[in-house]
Amino acid sequence: MTDAAAVLDGFAQALQPAYLLYALLGVFLGTAVGVLPGIGPAMAVALLLPLTYDLDVTAAMIVFAGIYYGGMYGGSTTSILLNTPGESASIVTALEGNRMAKTGRGAAALATAAVGSFVAGTLGTLALTLVAPVVADWAVQLGPADYVALMVVAFVTVGALLGSSVARGLASLALGLFVGLIGTDTLTGQQRFTFGVPLLADGIDVVVVAVGVFAVGEALYVASRLRHGPIEVIPVPRGWRSWMSRSDWSRSWRPWLRGTAIGFPVGTIPAGGADVSTFLSYATEKRLARHRHEFGKGAIEGVAGPEAANNAAAAGVLVPLLTLGLPTTATAAVMIAAFQTYGIQPGPLLFENQPVLVWTLVASLYIGNLMLLVFNLPLVGLWVKVLRVPRHYLYAGILSFAALGSYALNFSTVDLVLLLGIGVVGFFMRRHGYPVAPLVVGMILGPMAEEQVRRTLAISQGDLTALVTSPFAATAYGLLAVLLGLALWARRRERQASAREMAMSG
């Protein structure tokens, strides 16, 4: 029972007062950036990376874990309370949640989202606790060719499935792979695509790329089409009583559990991340609902299920991230970069070499989830204020912190110019439907994939068949084909569902 001992050890660590404070800081920051439009968890972690260099590894990981979960909570508050007419149905929670808020049931929508997120987050973390060590034990036996197969799977699914256009997703991925090439080749010491700029010899920092596409690109894009006029936040009635009635509870608990059951497995496979799981959950709830006529007018099941699925998927994403070092979403990719900054390589050996760190991180996820439940609902007034931040200051602030984070890396203006250049690329990508996540994933996974390919071929003395002959690799490539088929099918379902939704509401 060494595992159980390690888990308890992790809790003992995470429960130290200082670490509890860091967890609180993390979930607070995470919720705030989740609430703010224009900032997501990926960008928040990237922006805070340079500012946490002074923290010890464990504290930094706890802060990042808090931001990761907190961002999910905050996002639902925004989609329920922000009244933005004409926005397409990109966020499922907004479909029902926003309508519930408009009919005066905003508090119930917020409550079912928060409790559902807690239930799903806790069950998801529990599943992570049980599944991750098993996966890690198994993954230790994987050879370089097997890792190549895993990375190819991640490349194809992330590139082809994120965003609405396969061609544009792959272009974004290829761009990321190219950025990853810039610098000095680790095996031979040769410079590649450095254009004689000394700073580029070390490669472009992941922080600059992530902050560039997420923060600067987003700020420029939103600024180019900024919604002017007052910010309409739907008011929420005060008081505990209005939160959830008995019937709200009885209509919510099954969707929470179903959402969890859908979200966690979808999160563990690289199939487009949380979005797919929320759409699947929404479709399921709609089919099973007794109050089907309420869907589209504010059905609580349509908030409870997808919110739970979203958070369970967030926990599921951590399984390949921690056990295989495989990021399947943009946030996960930035988290990998954060780990690497501290000299930690996520993967099967992490559980052997740094058990205390891993389990402290997992324990802080449980704790962070509880904190989020306890703090979020009472603080809803604060989040509403955050939502009302004037947009000119919000986006000026995002640009300022982006500049700070990149400059603080090397104290070099070259990084600032690079940041702006990457931001402009991000601006055009958003304008034309290129998903930005594959770029970040490609940049981080590309160098790892190259190293593993070269190791495989060094062992096999140049025999290319070594890449596919290992049983695991062969299975992975086979599954990839199946997975692609399934994911494209799920995506078509999701599109049909949202098209029907649009038709109904329009």
């Binding site: 792959l170 190219f178 031979t188 000026a396 300022s400 702006l420």
Partner: protein, 178 residues
């Protein structure tokens, strides 16, 4: 919300949009061709085994060319990219290029000022310039907030994190210049 007096421009006019899509696709193909050509100039040391420092760049270059070509094909077939939406994006607004150019200019001014006027003042210029561009009025309010933000962050960095951003004109001021 009252209906606007004139029909608003669609987010991006179809004709201009298509041209932009072609330019982007062509740029991706162009980058791929450049990668393929430039890879030939990467030195391969004698010790490298079957897969040297050139192989992977060739694959990436080829992928760029293929993806760019796929984008061009999709554009020609009329499958344009869907512009991203967001909470603060006005789906009916046309592109305000002037705002984008001004923001880029203020950012460049910030990069130029950091090592000349110092980080706090450079940050104030970026924050105030960006907020003013996006509609903050009267002009002195974002300037004051920007100055306060710059000085506070400088102090936090110097005292809390032990990182000294260049103080520039504020050199020698206690707390700010660590």
């Amino acid at each position: 919300m009252s209906a606007p007096a004139t029909t608003p421009d669609p987010p991006v006019r179809p004709g201009a949009r298509r041209v932009e899509e072609y330019v982007l696709g062509a740029a991706i193909v162009g980058l791929g061709v450049f990668v393929l050509v430039d890879t030939a100039s990467i030195a391969v040391p004698g010790s490298a085994n079957a897969v040297g420092p050139r192989t992977f760049p060739y694959v990436v270059g080829a992928l760029l060319v293929a993806a760019g070509a796929a984008v061009l094909t999709a554009t020609a077939l009329g499958r344009l990219g869907e512009a991203e939406d967001g909470e603060d994006v006005d789906p009916e607004a046309g592109t305000d290029w002037r705002t984008v150019v001004q923001l880029v200019a203020f950012f460049l001014a910030h990069a130029w000022l950091v090592e000349r006027a110092g980080w706090p003042l450079a940050l104030a210029a970026l924050f105030a310039g960006a907020a003013w561009t996006l509609g903050a009025r009267p002009w002195w309010r974002p300037v004051l907030i920007g100055l306060a933000l710059g000085v506070v962050l400088q102090a936090v960095f110097a005292t809390g994190l032990g990182l000294s951003l260049p103080p520039g004109l504020l050199e020698g001021v206690p707390i700010l210049d660590d």
